[in-house]
């Protein structure tokens, strides 16, 4: 594509794409794993370069302050997950759950997924974004089903069907947005460009925008995992390989959320259209409370954290739904913190499940005794995700709650109740997992602690001290979000 600016953006997209092609050809998992890590690292560097040299946006590619946050986060977690995946996959190969052929496929798909997500984030074109998200969905479907067990295929199938319907609805919404745009901006490519749409949206037909938003919210909301559209999420998390669970929770949900946010910005700029906020806030709140209750009823450890992702997506969507600089800031921060923490949790959980040979909570206990590093890592992660001070998520939850107070004091009540319900469940489970008399396998572990430590350190640091530059950046983005 000649219209691509030839710099960081190109690299961010080209590296994963090229590596994917390469990995599909290369045999030997060791080399592929190394290459995978290397490529993820290079992509991360390219993404970081966007912070410094911000390219101009073209007809297909848009780089603004909002999506840089997402891109950097995306590639950071993508990189650490690739590190984790290297040690995880080695173990899977030993136990024979995966074959080298699978692995070749797996690594290639991993890079395709990274490419798709980066593309979705950087796309300036709502159609292109839709295509990228569909690609990401297809890739993850394949990855979720990679174990070929009955349960894995069921989960993948469920994910596939629900995801496809979601995607279809999103497409309809996209078409509607375009149709709303044509009378104002004219036919052709312009009607699908963010940069154009945002500027002119106030003149669009509000009724059309309303319908469009309903479809987009439901469509991309399915991918975000908002209740009641969430059904695929826990299964997909539980049955896929753990690195994929981490990527799903930490990244793909964000990408879908990013899409919702973009359209929310559109709608918010048109004053005659219905306000998207209340709708999002309601769905967010519903997801939070629903997932909070469901957390009590999960006995599969990965499934439980899948529900926890729904819960946190609920909080984030609620925050963005509330709107206003403070709530948006809180939502952004919460999203970042959640990505970091949740992927760290999945890293530990992946190792734990490998050691214990099971994912059932009931058959795991006393982790802090048998595997202190993993056990305490899990405890720290859960404590963080549950929103205890002084970790980062507490900060953002505090901001969400207090900004809710500022605007809708009554909504804070169910919000806090939901937080408390989820908190009780998470802590209940982690008490069972990490403490008490040891249960389950006690074998030694070849874990990669580095990604876990890196994520948790970041979360802890964010809880204690947020660099002013980051705060300023987020505040700026929050204002962009309106």
């Amino acid at each position: 594509m000649s219209t691509l600016p030839s710099d960081g953006v190109t690299l961010v997209l080209a590296i994963p794409a090229a590596t994917a092609a390469l990995l599909a050809l290369l045999p030997g998992y060791r080399l592929s794993a190394t290459l995978n890590v290397l490529s993820a690292f290079l992509t991360l560097l390219a993404a970081l370069s966007l912070l410094i040299w911000k390219p101009e946006s073209g007809p297909y590619i848009l780089v603004d302050d909002l999506n840089i946050v997402f891109v950097v986060l995306n590639n950071f977690v993508g990189f650490t997950t690739s590190v984790f995946s290297a040690s995880y996959i080695a173990h899977e190969l030993e136990t024979g759950r995966l074959t080298p052929v699978h692995l070749r496929f797996y690594h290639a798909m991993y890079q395709v997924l990274m490419f798709a997500m980066n593309l979705a984030l950087l796309a300036n074109n709502i159609g292109l974004m839709w295509v990228a998200i569909e690609l990401a969905t297809l890739t993850t479907v394949l990855m979720v089903g990679i174990y070929r067990t009955r349960e894995a295929i069921e989960a993948a199938w469920k994910y596939f069907i629900l995801g496809s319907v979601g995607i279809a609805l999103a497409l309809f919404g996209t078409i509607l947005v375009y149709m709303a745009a044509t009378p104002v901006v004219g036919e052709g490519l312009d009607g699908m460009l963010w940069t154009v749409l945002v500027k002119r949206v106030s003149a669009f037909d509000p009724a059309l925008l309303n319908v469009a938003f309903v479809f987009l919210l439901l469509g991309y909301g399915t991918k975000v995992g908002l209740a009641p559209l969430h059904a695929w999420l826990p299964d997909a998390h539980a049955e896929g390989p753990t690195p994929i669970s981490a990527v799903l929770s930490g990244l793909l949900l964000n990408v879908a959320l990013y899409a919702v946010l973009r359209f929310k910005m559109l709608l918010a700029a048109n004053f005659q259209a219905i306000a998207p906020g209340p709708l999002m806030a309601t769905m967010g709140l519903g997801s939070l409370i629903f997932a909070g209750f469901m957390l009590y009823r999960s006995d599969d450890i990965k499934r439980m954290f899948g529900y926890s992702s729904i819960e946190h997506m609920g909080i984030i969507v609620f925050a963005f739904g509330m709107g206003g600089p403070l709530a948006n800031f809180a939502g952004l921060l919460h999203m970042t913190m959640h990505s970091l923490t949740k992927s760290a949790i999945f890293f530990t959980v992946g190792h734990i499940a490998q050691i214990k040979g099971t994912q059932k909570i009931a058959s795991i206990s006393g982790l802090t005794v048998t595997h202190p590093l993993l056990g305490w890592g899990l405890v720290l992660g859960v404590v963080a995700i549950a929103g205890m001070p002084p970790l980062g998520i507490f900060m953002s939850e505090f901001l969400v709650v207090s900004s809710t107070f500022a605007r809708q004091p009554l909504l804070a009540l169910p919000l806090v109740a939901g937080l408390l319900i989820a908190f009780g469940a998470l802590l209940l489970r982690v008490h069972q997992l990490a403490f008490g008399a040891p249960k389950g396998g006690t074998g030694p572990v070849r874990a990669s602690y580095l990604p876990i430590a890196a994520h948790l350190t970041l979360v802890l640091m964010a809880g204690i001290y947020l660099p002013p530059a980051l705060v300023a950046w987020f505040q700026h983005v929050a204002r962009l979000l309106g």
Binding site: G127, V131, L135, P183
Partner: protein
Amino acid sequence: MGHLEFDVAHLFAGGLVLVSFMLLYQDRLYALLNVFALQAVVLALSVAWQAYVHDAPHLYVTAAIALIFKAIVIPVALHRIIARLGIHREVENVVSIGPTMLAGMGLVALSMVVMLRVTTDAYPLAREDLAFALSVVLLGLLMMVTRNNAVSQIVGFMSLENGLILAATGAKGMPIVVEISVAFSVLIAFIVIGTLLFRIRERFDTVDVEALDRFQGERR
């Protein structure tokens, strides 16, 4: 755009909705597939008409995809699946035909009401066309929801997707419609291959979705 062109486009769109109702009405799988092929043909005609009217040659590609892929390849493939599975007898409806049709009427009415709020000056064809497209989408979804059988669910999904293509082509001058239709074809191919794969691997004895997702969750 003259009166005639408008009327023809309208006719095709309306025909699509009508075929959707026919789909809902079917209770045999082979007949279902035939009707679906008919829908694909109508869609192809409609798209081709748009291409002709708007002078947008790339839309012919979309029309061709619709015609070849959806009207011929997929129905044939599904035919073979049905034959191999031996499930050609009946569509297992969860909700019987009568209430389904009534619900379908309701959905069409709903999409009309929703779309009539759109201001008319937006685009001459937009309002009615969109209303029809929305109806087709909703009817497709309704079909997915009211059928137990995987094949009929796939058909429902494809009919939903036909509605999308209708909307996309109806939107004058919309870019990357072709790409989108290709992407969707890939999606559908995946679904079809998926059902085939399940059968070949003999993981599941039936393609009843009910049996597929006897879920592994944990009851206590």
